[in-house]
Amino acid sequence: MAFLKLEHVSHLYFSNKTYTKALDDISLSINRGEFISILGSSGCGKSTLLSIIAGIIKQTKGNVLLNNIPLHQSDYVLGYMLQQDYLFPWKRIIDNVLIGLKVQKKVSKKTRQKALKLLDEVGLPHLEDTFPNELSGGMRQRVALVRTLITNPEILLLDEPFSALDYQTKLKLEDLVYRLLKQYHKTAILVTHDIGEAISLSDRIILMDTNPGRISTIIDVPKVLREEKPFLVRRQPSYQQLFDHIWASLNRGSETNGSKET
């Protein structure tokens, strides 16, 4: 059964003089526990799509259904991870982690314990009383992950959360995110332009065209790759095949559209 369903979703951005079509007729259904990656060049409306699913902006046309209920009517919880951690520099780590629960007025002794446990789980024990500027980029992004997970979101939206990190940290964090998501059976949508990242993490990969943003191909990741840890996926022979396939499709897409590099 489809957990999250998008039906003919389109979105327009208006400015004084003109308007641009960011998304055109996106239909998609995602199952519970699935990991989906959306892959495309800059300006294909990936982030717009995430913002719509997050309920931060409302689509101009079409429906977004969660458990068959329109998104804006259901009181679901979701987690959003951005390109940078956006931890509040004036709050201690523990307060940063608990901000989502504080907004939802759910902070208690129990949730505090859970926060400490999760921080420990991502390899940041005994750091709850420090401030974000005392931590490295990778540590901060892990805090942001805990901040997202602790609200117990039904869907995790990941907007290139690894792109601001150095390569080594990025690979380690991919493994961690993958492990935690599987452990807690979370549904996740990752937006990225990194083909390797998409292959190593996802069950399905959605390729998007630019101008206007629409789905060009949906690729099922082979079972062998799906069940492997992200770091090890990259060593599989079928990884390279899939990589080349996606690379070719993306290039074909950008050539027919004549889109410019950004």
Binding site: Y86, F88, W90, V103, Q104
Partner: protein, 268 residues
């Protein structure tokens, strides 16, 4: 071992150099200060300037001592200080509150925009007579003058600060379904604290302008009153004494706000 000794020696020399530089600057500041008063005194004694108009430091000092002894100067200084501090606090807080409303209600902000521009461009002291008519001749009017000079500029600066906070902080909170007020409380306000603190320094100076002009217009006490009174009875020793006191008080207040600023910044 020898190398380490040499390094230490260089470090000592560096430290001594800094201290010497500081002493030298301070020395010149003192020299400038003293020679200004000596020159003033001499030129007044030898009639290079008219002593009736420009008085002299000794006369000013004698007058100040006399007036402080009979307590009248203390009263005047207290009144002005009280008005200035209150005007400063009210102006700053009201400015921040208005800015908050502007941010919370974007439509309200759009409507208010041209009025804010006009109010900001307008010399606020020109409103003096209206305020006095409206609030009556007394402390209230003068405090209102002190506040009104800083209120609009505080509103504009702080509101601009609110708008410049990285929208991604809001995105984080919105993804948790935060209300606009929660966004304000958790992200906008704390992120803009440095901006608000820096307006304090500007407002201290502005509050003095408002209060002194207010006292010029209507008052029976205060340092601004003394200036106008001295001017009317042609007692320029009194005018100069008041000016000296204002300079000292304003400088002390400014320094205190600066201290407060440092404290708050370290805390954040």
């Amino acid at each position: 071992m020898g190398a380490k000794k040499h390094e230490l020696k260089l470090f000592k020399a560096y430290q001594q150099n800094i201290i010497r530089e500081r002493k030298w600057t301070f020395c010149w500041q003192i020299i400038l200060f003293i020679s200004f008063f000596i020159l003033w005194e001499l030129s007044s004694r030898f009639y290079w300037i008219d002593p009736l108009l420009f008085s002299s430091p000794l006369k000013v000092m004698t007058l100040l001592i006399e007036k402080f002894k009979d307590g009248s100067m203390i009263v005047h200084t207290q009144v002005t200080l009280f008005e200035t501090i209150l005007g400063f606090i009210i102006g700053t807080i009201l400015g921040i509150i208005i800015a908050t409303f502007l941010w919370l209600f974007p439509r309200f902000a759009k409507i208010m925009d041209p009025y804010l521009v006009i109010l900001n461009a307008m010399p606020k002291v020109a409103l003096g007579p209206i305020i006095i008519v409206a609030l009556g001749p007394g402390y209230t009017s003068i405090i209102a003058m002190g506040a009104i000079v800083s209120i609009i500029i505080t509103t504009i600066v702080v509101y601009t600060g609110f708008k410049e906070v990285d929208p991604n902080y809001l995105k984080v909170l919105q993804s948790f379904r935060a209300t606009r007020w929660t966004c304000f409380k958790e992200a906008i306000f704390p992120a803009t604290l440095p901006v608000m603190i820096s307006t304090l320094k500007v407002n201290v100076g502005l509050a003095w302008v408002g209060v002194i002009v207010g006292e010029f217009l209507v008052s029976k006490e205060g340092l601004g009153y003394l200036i106008v009174y001295g001017f009317q009875v042609f007692d320029f020793t009194l005018v100069m004494s008041s000016l000296v006191l204002i300079a000292i008080c304003a400088a002390v207040m400014y320094k205190m706000v600066e201290k407060l600023e440092n404290m708050l910044i370290i805390k954040n």
